[in-house]
């Protein structure tokens, strides 16, 4: 028995849809969301969204008239466009899981100029900025209402 949260057919459709949502790009030198490592992360991360994702995939299969993954590329795009309009909250959950995993991939983060690391313990640098911008506000009279 499979320990994965989705059936093989559901997983194939999800991977095909992820590739339509975020395709690989030579311009930005990034993989698509259907990349093997990213998709493995997606499958591991469904967690409390599993039921919604399965509902969304059932809707997708219905729109496709069968397996979405078996459609030709042009037809996939058409069906995905309809699905995007009609998917509702279950699609929102599916979309969220795909994005959560895609934008924490090292290759994607580096392409965005980000360091692939946890925020702690290194943190980030935020400039103090030009505090003289506050000078006009400092010159204002008190604005708060006196009560006595």
């Amino acid at each position: 028995m499979s320990t994965l949260p989705l059936t093989d057919a559901e997983a194939r459709d999800l991977r095909a849809l992820a590739g339509v949502m975020i395709p690989a790009s030579d311009t930005y030198k990034v993989p698509g969301a259907d990349d093997e490592a990213i998709f493995a992360d997606i499958l591991k991360s469904l967690d409390r969204d599993t039921a919604d994702v399965r509902t969304a995939l059932a809707h997708l299969a219905k729109l496709a008239g069968g397996a979405f993954a078996d459609l030709a590329p042009d037809r996939r795009r058409d069906v995905a466009a309809t699905f995007k309009q009609e998917g509702g909250a279950p699609l929102g959950a599916l979309n969220r899981v795909v994005l959560l995993c895609y934008y924490r991939d090292d290759r994607v983060m580096r392409s965005l100029g980000q360091e692939p690391r946890s925020p702690f313990p290194k943190g980030h640098v935020v400039e103090q900025g030009d505090w003289s911008l506050l000078d006009p506000v400092k010159k204002r009279a008190p604005m708060w209402r006196r009560t006595s």
């Binding site: 965005l112 980000q114 946890s118 640098v125 400039e127 900025g129 009560t147």
Partner: protein
């Protein structure tokens, strides 16, 4: 049976911690029951690469989504605003932005000044020393001299302006409107054993650095050193009373589901605006068939939320994104009443730093701004790190039909009825929100932002929970008196946001804690002159 204590506090969050600390110097035996756990700094999301993902899982702000074993479910009904909170040592200070304004003097006098709602039985001047003590205990950063407030002196310098703050500053100066560095419960220098902020990013789901002040690392260590006992995984079902109608203690469940009775000389409730009325309504007896201390019928009523409106746009210049605490500035330009605006009272604009990369992608996809397909990458790179956003915190006026009741069906894991929320936004609040959105768009236009978006009210925006056991001098129109003691039960006190008479238009934690310190001080004075239970 457990040994009797002098003081039993229920809830270890913002107010429970403050009152425990203040009462500790009486040397009474004080016990606090907390239904959640201690949260370890190593558990906070910013320790890991999955920090944004956990905002949608075990550190989600909505307890129904988070669904930890220590959370209770909430039936939000048809409310346009859903309750968000956290259950654990520190309560919702674990999971807040640490934006830390005080109420203004006018907030305590809305009936006198504006002819709506009721005046509070306390005022700003009375609370001022307790604000200062609380700022010192929590460790507040900020800048003295804000013309929107009476002069006060935050103990640490303000958070950095950053790129986002400068963009806001230039825009608001162009309009001639007020803005100021926020009072923030975030250490900007080493402070009382806490390290300074290193800009980990979004502070809401807990600070791994310990720079954000949550009461588990501020009040509680001091209270425990002074002898207060804090018992975790103790989920209180009801407060019990004797034949004279005095509180005798509380019944709670431990982590194994075993029922206990904890006797006490006096009980202090600190479960905030939803948890407190839930507990009181569930504390039914022959003496109090409609819930303890509820002869006025007002327990659970007058729920106030501060409905939030989010408005944002995108500028060409790079901003701070998720780097740094998410809130570091406010504008109080529209805080005090101006009837020419078409509503009474007013609102704060809190100015945001930015979002993380994943939250930006999710929000922009949901808004239809970020496409699927080939253009996804190009559009995303134009959005990420360029968002300038702000939220309008509207003053919500008390209305009795906005209320918390016990759900007849939904229960927590111990079988305790869940709270059910009945809430609609009032007309004044709606007009105020529309005004705030319009002014937010003015600010974005002045900053050169395009692609304006927003959410109003923010669905998961019920951070501020107030009014459900209001204070007052008239027992027919309030639940507690002017120093937090229940009119009906002379040894039962409430110290959290539920005692607020009106909501103001600012984040409430600072004032909740100042009130808790004031009530603790009042308890000590009455203890001293022998009038505590008279």
């Amino acid at each position: 049976m457990n040994d009797k204590v002098d003081v039993l506090i229920i809830g270890s969050g913002a107010s429970g911690a403050a009152v425990a600390y203040s009462l500790a110097d009486t040397k009474m035996r004080i016990l606090c029951l907390e239904q959640g756990d201690w949260v370890k700094p190593t558990d906070y999301p910013t320790n890991g690469r999955d920090w944004e993902a956990r905002l949608f899982a075990d550190f989600a702000i909505n307890p129904n989504r988070r669904a930890r074993e220590t959370d209770y479910p909430i039936n939000n009904g048809t409310s346009p605003v859903q309750v968000v909170n956290f259950n654990g040592v520190g309560g919702s200070t674990i999971m807040y932005t640490a934006h830390y304004p005080r109420l203004h003097p006018s907030d305590f006098r809305v009936r006198t000044l504006d002819g709506v709602a009721d005046d509070w039985p306390v005022d700003y001047e009375t609370l001022e020393p307790f604000f200062a003590e609380n700022d010192r205990m929590m460790g507040v950063s900020g800048l003295a001299g804000d013309p929107a407030y009476p002069l006060h002196h935050p103990p640490m310098p303000p958070l950095p302006l950053g790129k986002s703050g400068q963009a806001f500053g230039r825009a608001l100066n162009k309009l001639g409107w007020h803005w100021w560095p926020s009072d923030s419960a975030i250490a900007t220098t080493e402070y009382d054993g806490r390290a300074a902020c290193i800009n980990l990013g979004h502070c809401t789901p807990g600070c791994a650095q310990g720079a954000k002040a949550s009461t588990d690392i501020t009040y509680w260590p001091a209270a425990i050193r002074a002898g207060v006992e804090l018992r975790t995984r103790a989920c209180v079902r009801e407060i019990t009373v004797d034949a004279d109608g005095l509180a005798t203690g509380a019944i709670y469940y431990d982590a194994d589901g075993k029922e206990h009775f904890q006797p006490a000389e006096m009980v202090i409730v600190a479960c905030n605006g939803i948890g407190t009325p839930r507990l009181m309504l569930n504390s039914q007896s022959g003496k109090f068939p409609n819930g303890i201390a509820n002869s006025s019928g007002l327990v659970g009523k007058n729920l106030m939320f501060h409905p939030f409106a989010l408005t944002y746009g995108y500028v060409d210049e790079p901003l701070d994104g998720n780097k740094g605490p998410p809130l570091n500035l406010w504008s109080q330009e529209f805080y005090e009443t101006d009837l020419a605006r078409g509503f009474v009272r007013g609102y704060t604009l809190q100015l945001h730093r930015g979002t993380g990369s994943i939250v930006e992608a999710i929000a922009s996809t949901a808004a239809g701004r970020l496409p699927w397909g080939e253009d996804h990458h190009k559009v995303y790179r134009r959005l990420l790190g360029h968002r300038l956003g702000m939220s309008t915190i509207t003053e919500d006026l008390p209305e009795e039909h906005n209320r918390v009741t016990l759900d007849p069906v939904l229960k927590d894991s111990h079988g305790i009825p869940a709270p059910r929320i009945h809430y609609t936004m009032g007309e004044n609040t709606r007009k105020m929100m529309d005004h705030g959105i319009a002014r937010s768009k003015d600010i974005l236009a002045a900053a050169g932002a395009t692609d304006i978006g927003g959410e109003a009210p923010i669905l998961n925006g019920g951070w501020h929970l107030m009014g459900t056991a209001r204070m007052g001098t008239d027992p027919a129109r309030s639940v507690v008196n002017e120093w937090g003691r229940c009119h009906d039960v002379k040894n039962l006190f409430i110290v959290d946001g539920s005692i607020w008479v009106t909501s103001g238009g600012v984040n409430p934690t600072s004032t909740i804690q100042a009130l808790a310190l004031y009530i603790a001080d009042s308890i000590k004075k009455h203890l001293g002159d022998g009038t505590l239970f008279e």
